[in-house]
Symmetry: C2
Subunit: 209 residues, 2 copies
């Protein structure tokens, strides 16, 4: 049986029901801890499920910041200093990652017990336990007229990857790295590989690669 909600049904629903539903609709989402540091030297760490690919040449990533959310410390630090890091989350510390979303006054690293790490003289802190760490510099910022959501585009400056998860062709074995994915607002999952598929062409059968 299919349940149907039209626009007015969604808007008339309880606000927490609506928030959970709409946040679940896109499916599984990537999960990254974004690390930043203020001009005054206070570090910040916050979970983001809206990080995406903008381009490979040059390598660019995008992050969406919802208006009026707790993530604003992260955005302020990025605008102030120009730097941030992205760090994959694993089963070993996804609960600490979730806890970084609480409204702390000081550094979330210390508050939740995750160690900072500094690599290649990059200004912003990495998460020491993370198997995939990406250093980015601020490239562009756009505000969406529709509701004030902010899109930050970062240029990738450094990538650090646990060797066991990097394949010869450049792809990452996320199952092997133990990377976690999130759905909705608060549900965490591991990935369980089905297959890699060959490049799709008309009139050519797909094969597993």
């Amino acid at each position: 049986m299919m349940r149907h909600f039209d626009k007015s049904g969604i808007l008339e629903a309880d606000s927490s029901f609506r928030r959970d539903l709409i946040n679940s609709l896109s499916g599984y989402k990537s999960l990254n801890l974004i690390g930043t540091k203020s001009k005054d030297g206070i570090t910040n760490l916050s979970p983001f499920s809206q990080v995406f690919h903008i381009g490979a040449t040059p390598p660019l990533v995008g992050i969406l910041f919802r208006p009026h959310s707790v993530e604003r410390h992260t955005l302020e630090n990025i605008m102030e200093t120009g730097y941030f890091t992205m760090n994959h989350v694993t089963e070993a510390f996804y609960q600490q990652a979730h806890q970084t979303a609480a409204r702390y006054e000081n550094s979330e690293f210390e508050a939740v017990g995750l160690d900072e790490e500094y690599l290649s003289d990059f200004f912003a802190p990495f998460v020491k336990l993370s198997p995939v760490k990406v250093a980015c510099s601020l490239k562009e910022k756009q505000t969406l007229q529709v509701n004030g959501t902010v899109l930050v585009i970062g240029a990738i400056e450094h990538v650090f990857i646990e060797e066991r998860g990097l394949r010869d062709d450049g792809s990452l074995d996320l199952n092997r790295l133990g990377t976690v994915t999130v759905s909705g607002l608060d549900e965490y999952h591991l990935g369980k590989k089905l297959a890699r598929l060959s490049y799709p062409k008309p009139d050519k059968a797909l094969r597993e690669i």
Copy 2:
């Protein structure tokens, strides 16, 4: 052992290595088939891993379109007609979903053997097999200066969900729905739940919900 690539190392790498690497960096991505129809009545279906949450009140989604990609039929149809659908992909048809990315001249529905479905008089076609179907109308389009990537924002008009996957609080049980997630360009996975965690507050221990 950590492998390190700096910006020049990434840019000097083989282009397919770079593409695979950069597309893998964000982690697991959502996977949706976007269904559209041209003014002339030709339907189109294409896989997207860059669909995200823009807002719940009113309910809005965003999709990123890479410049010069095969996804351009989808973008043309959206700009021409103002409508599109998003459809979750399951283990039962992820290979067909992958195959819709091939350069077909006519409808991908027919080419890969996925049935169209029309619901609530909505103009664009849904994927009949999909357990989560979302109808959207075009709200806003923005082009990113940095590399011509296009951001399309859609207003959610209808949501159809297989009842077994909708929880009382509005969240979706993606494991139960069989929704698939993608990593890199071509790797598909099921999700395996770790836990749902309570709302994070300072000085309060998390619990599973």
